[in-house]
Subunit: 309 residues, 4 copies
């Protein structure tokens, strides 16, 4: 097994050379403006050490990676009753597919496809104004990474609010089945804002430490979530964290991960480390092309796989 | 963490009490005759010890569990070119669904749904007569568990051959897309026979040791498959091993597993143990009801989860 | 062949006896309040005679029947370029299905499923404020039946506007594919209002005369639409006018017709008559149960079928 | 309205000039050998006159046009109980789609998609050996056109039997739902043979006369089927006779028709004429490209439309 510093430097160097970097998401206009040459990676070891390479301190739009944090919050809020409104199975469909909702009466397949994450957000809205709910999620993420500089990129949120017609469709569709308790615009208002959180790789890696450490914040020692729930969130990340490319990621990389169309991926090596990587170009499934590749390389060199002896 | 003997006895005792044992598969008439009260479990530790409880020495029809062994053989035979003919993604559909094949031009989602396993069998047929291919698979499984008494239950094979119309449909359908190189009856002839292998829990747990041990046979030390491939088969078992209940199994049990409609499940704790469990009653997704529950209990007590620190 | 007066009286008498009258639509709350005992029928012969029975002078919500009139207007406005945005094939799916839209990139199957009718409405909005577009459609229908008392039931429109989440989903979904040029709320605002037109059977039968008469208003002699277009609208009514029950209606009744969830059906006997029937109880496909039956009986007695020699 | 001789000559001349003639079906190898320049048309008027142009006396493979005759026979044999096993709705899917069967439990949408026609054939097999059933269907068609020279092109039947994997898939799939009473190979054996009937346009137009004449053979005066059933078969031809292009055909041509992948179409002008046209090149929906166009032109010139006043 290699030293993490060496491994990380080697992976970053290899990625800097990469010619085919995928395509930057353009369906959210604001995201289309990001420079595809960016690449950053940060590793927060359970022992407290943090390593970083490349653009690891440049904030990017975490987008769907935020679904890990909202799921954690929602489970803390209403517990396993959440699973009456959202499933736990891979979808076998693109992230924004609506077909499955029609066949399964408005119950999304899992909390990481858009529809499922909108339901999770709807849960977090209960008893709150949208502004309060957004604030609660933001403070939770700031707490997780112990860094108050995490902020909301309002131009990204506004961009999605103006153009996220598919998400409006999903929300209204679930509402028609009674699986949304707030007005679609309200739930989506919160959803678009937590997707627009801007974080650096370093912050994101730090925020993910509780998942690598059995639910306990490896920095402060605070319990964020029970050990069983931390495991189960990892399980969901592995089976559903990369949309229709989840099987491929599990096959190639072999650790739980959650990607976002901003090009970020949060990955977890249980018992060892939390990793954040960012490169804006996406592959055909909407996951960061170089991010996936960097994690595959790093996991191989470090022998990090949940499937290894 | 508990002692394995104690844990196993406790789980077996709990299962003996279970009232709701699921429904025995009836779509293969021969399987419908099995006594739903049966329950067996065996654990083959990487250190060589083997533990068993209940009907662990009674042979049962392993059915789809055999797909793990045929996949292993096919990867050994043609390597990663297999993945041009079969995908690596969870299907989001029942095991015998044909819908996905129409939408994806005859390429099955993964090697563990029926369609995918039929393609794998087609690979193993190349250059062989069906009888020879069946013999090769049988000898491989006998080698894996170091027990020549594994046999083919010909009445089960005949039962499927006479009634497996869905599988004939799948095979012919893939043939129409050119994704089957032999006549459907030939590929299915081999497929029905390897699904009809009769094994005990003890044999099955022993046969799975290479997956818990990085591809090396923990008994003899022979390398069955490379470490990377062993990992990847584990990854596929985790994401796709329980059909449309794979996410649920990963969520609840947290280790790779492959189920069969005969009520068997082979599960793997990488680095630790290979487990086989059998109880004929199935849940709604076609996976052993008590088998899944027993694995959930055992994994919890033993703290066996690939997602745990 | 029978006399129309006799036939009509006989059919009305038979319907008055009917025990199983279907279920009144409840998904638009306002519609759920209508008395299921209502039944009316009116026939406007091409020769100018009009016959009516039952509650033929009681206004009801025409709902999707209005799609015939908006299609007529839109074809007049932009001609056959409409068919670049909406298809002409039966959908094989329920009226509010979204599955087909995902598979066919936001192009609805035909102008009579909800999605297609929303596109047609979007066409009519071009260059107008919603209020003006609604006014234009209303005046057109008033002109067709030569009766200014046709009105908009604003409580029905408001009811749909507050609860029509499926339609919001469809509109947003098409917007995400670029197949809606106005904001979804604007297009739906107009759509909900023309669906909320309140008309009597007599008015509706009169309004449909141009379709029975080669595009010419049989009362005034004005040309509403070309003969070829009138035929083609009839063809669309026959193949797509009853959602997933269109084949059944063509099979049993044998004449073009368009139904609405308010329980109305407009049917056309080319060269002979325009018929409107109303009974609020619906069958499983969302078409008026007694309305369909009454048309089947009447067509049989009168030997009215486009498929008869 | 034009004279039929003139109109026919004019249409044939126009077709002879056509550059884009579509693509000859190649999925049945034997059909791929047909010369795409062929074009024939024949019209059998109810008054007994027969007109023909082009290659109207050259036999071609009628393929799915035979489904009209088997449906007629099956309705004569078991009456409306047929509709318990096959629907009457347009499918909204290609002719050989299997998706709908999975969603609707093995009940095909209508008797003109492949799956539905296989069920119809299964009905005709009851109490017969395949050879007898084929003979019965052949004699029926010979009787209808009063010409014993109609024959089975055995090379086409053999070609399909060797390569018709999709149809084997459909048959086995329906068998798995219990909606096929004979072995799939038996039902398909008969199916492939009646699809391989070789007929000329003249023979086919003559065979269709009963549909244009209320069920009575306009030549001999024999009643082939009741008037109501003749109408209903016409209705099914209009709504389902051109697979996923049925709406388009109804829209453009406006008369009932049934196409086959051999390039033939049988069309019916109720009360007036039976028409057969043949040109081997197909459009994207699998219907004869020039055949459809010729019927559109002819129907327009002759003012033949079931939707016209």
């Amino acid at each position: 097994m290699a030293e993490i510093e060496t491994a990380l430097a080697q992976v970053a160097a290899e990625m800097a050379e990469a010619r085919d970097r995928g395509s930057v998401a353009t369906y959210i206009p604001q995201l289309g403006k990001v420079d595809p040459q960016r690449f950053g990676i940060a590793v927060a070891m359970n022992d407290g050490r943090v390593f970083a390479e490349g653009d690891a301190d440049e904030p990017f739009s975490i987008q769907s990676v935020s679904k890990v944090f909202t799921l954690t919050l929602a489970l803390g809020k209403i517990g396993d009753s959440l699973w009456q409104r959202v499933g736990r199975e891979p979808s076998g469909n693109p992230f924004n597919s609506i077909v499955q909702l029609e066949h399964e009466h408005g119950i999304p397949r899992n909390p990481f496809v858009n529809a499922g994450a909108i339901v999770v957000t709807d849960v977090l809205l209960a008893g709150h104004q949208p502004r309060e709910a957004i604030g609660e999620i933001l403070r939770f993420v700031q707490f997780l990474c112990d860094d108050d500089s995490v902020y909301i990129d309002r131009s990204v949120a506004a961009s999605e609010q103006a153009t996220g017609f598919r998400n409006y469709a999903l929300a209204n569709y679930m509402r028609s089945f009674g699986n949304l308790t707030h007005a679609p615009e309200m739930a989506l208002g919160v959803y678009f804002h937590h997707c627009a959180f801007a974080m650096t790789c370093r912050q994101l890696a730090l925020a993910g430490r509780y998942l690598a450490n059995g639910g306990r914040h490896s920095g402060t020692g605070h319990t964020v979530i029970s050990t069983e729930r931390a495991r189960r969130i990892n399980a969901l990340m592995l089976t559903c964290g990369h949309y229709d490319g989840s099987g491929e990621f599990a096959f190639r990389v072999g650790i739980p991960g959650k990607s976002g169309v901003g090009g970020g991926i949060l990955a977890v090596v249980p018992g060892v480390a939390s990793i954040a990587v960012w490169s804006p170009g996406l592959n055909a499934n909407g996951n960061s092309k170089l991010g996936s590749l960097a994690l595959e390389r790093l996991a191989k060199v470090m022998n990090w796989s949940v499937f290894a002896p």
